[in-house]
């Protein structure tokens, strides 16, 4: 049994563009879809309402500082996150490579949007993937997995305690991977992608996993220029 558990941030952040009412409407509408026979053709606005609750950047009233984190990169070299990304627009995600669903989709979406940036902006954007399963995510495996999506992506692995502490500083709670009796693993990944500004190295906004490529397309040029979309 594998478990990806995403947990609540330590402190609540106010979602300027996340409308609770929309989610309620979505839930109510989906109820109709689930039970109805006449309106189950799926052409209604249900999916769009539902999507609007998760597809926009979530602006943070209290920006997050970049965590102090020194790990090993996918070339096997030490990587000091604060030092190596100072002054760079940076996206940060906590995930693992034996994750079939959310982790590769999140990274592939970012890769897709990054590939469409003008070359000058593309060169400035740094994308950092921190493993929550560092024992299995060796530098070599991170290089293969991220390299298949975008070789510029920075994969980091190392001591779980350091990774957990860094995640916690951003309100992402991940527990140590557990090997189950049947030989499978339970591993947790973050549900958020943090966007750190090149101006002050703080995250002024984040995305929930599940944001659309189109949203990254729109926002990445803003992030690179140090603006909050």
């Amino acid at each position: 049994m594998r478990t990806n558990r995403t947990t609540r941030p330590a402190r609540p952040v106010r979602p300027r563009r996340l409308i609770g009412g929309a989610a309620l409407v979505a839930a109510a509408a989906l109820t109709l879809t689930a039970c109805g026979t006449s309106s189950s053709d799926g052409n209604g606005p249900v999916a769009r309402v539902s999507a609007s609750a998760t597809t926009a950047a979530v602006v943070l009233d209290q920006p997050f500082a970049k965590p102090n984190l020194v790990l090993t990169d996918s070339h096997g070299k030490p990587f000091d996150l604060v030092k190596e990304t100072a002054g760079d627009p940076t996206l940060l995600y906590f995930g693992y490579t034996h994750c079939p669903d959310v982790c590769p989709t999140t990274m592939a979406d970012i890769a897709n949007a990054r590939s469409k940036l003008p070359a000058a902006q593309r060169a400035r954007l740094k994308v950092v993937f921190v493993s929550t399963d560092p024992t299995r995510d060796t530098p070599k495996r991170l290089a293969a997995w991220l390299g298949a999506m975008d070789p510029s992506f920075i994969g980091l692995t190392g001591k779980f305690a350091a990774i957990q502490a860094a995640a916690r500083s951003l309100g992402v709670m991940v527990e140590r991977p557990v090997r189950e009796k049947d030989g499978s693993y339970s591993v947790e990944h973050g549900a958020e992608v943090f966007a750190f500004s090149p101006k002050d190295n703080r995250a002024h906004f984040l995305y929930t996993a599940g944001v659309s490529v189109r949203q990254y397309d729109q926002d990445l040029p803003e992030l690179v220029e140090g603006r909050t979309p």
């Binding site: 109820t31 189950s40 293969a144 999506m149």
Partner: protein, 182 residues
């Protein structure tokens, strides 16, 4: 298999969607969202227990659409998605999926709190649908034979059900950031 049909967000997908949004809300809004999730959950329960289903002696009538596998980064782990629609008068359950191109295929559910677990089956209510999607319920494919599949390649899934006959689906490999329409 045609291109993905317009989405019919299934009841099973709802808690995941609401759950993904929940961590970022102020306490007051959490209540609203939780209420929404509960509402959906109640509806699901009500649905599957609906007397219309089996008491009427109907049969499930299933069709599969929108199947795809996003190109995985490596061959050892991939996801699969599709929608099973049930236009019949009785519910059914997806009990397993087999594929000659994967060493193992598991049914996974994403719960309202974002946690993911393997399950023995997934319900397909009468007059409703089961929709597998990114961040929600999905297939986990392990050990793809023949290495990392190329975009445009096709895999084959056989869907097995509690009541209906198995359905074989040809599944295209799509770009990793492919998003079904709808």
């Amino acid at each position: 298999v045609t291109r993905p049909a317009p989405a019919t967000p299934s009841a099973a997908a709802t808690p995941g969607a609401a759950g993904a949004a929940a961590p970022f809300v102020t306490p007051r809004r959490t209540t609203v969202l939780l209420a929404g999730t509960l509402l959906a959950a109640v509806a699901v329960t009500g649905c599957s227990a609906h007397p219309r289903s089996d008491a009427a002696g109907g049969k499930p009538r299933l069709s599969v659409s929108g199947a795809y596998v996003p190109q995985p980064p490596l061959a050892d782990m991939a996801a699969g998605y599709f929608t099973v629609r049930n236009t019949g008068g009785a519910g059914d359950r997806l009990t397993s999926v087999t594929s000659t191109t994967a060493s193992d295929v598991s049914l996974m559910v994403t719960k309202a709190d974002g946690s993911m677990n393997g399950v023995g089956d997934l319900p397909i209510p009468a007059g409703g649908s089961l929709r597998l999607r990114v961040g929600g319920d999905h297939l986990m494919l392990m050990g793809l034979k023949g290495g990392r599949p190329a975009v445009g390649q096709h895999l084959s899934f056989v869907l097995h059900f509690a009541r209906s006959a198995p359905i074989t689906v040809t599944v295209p490999v799509e770009p990793a950031s492919y998003q079904p329409k709808g």
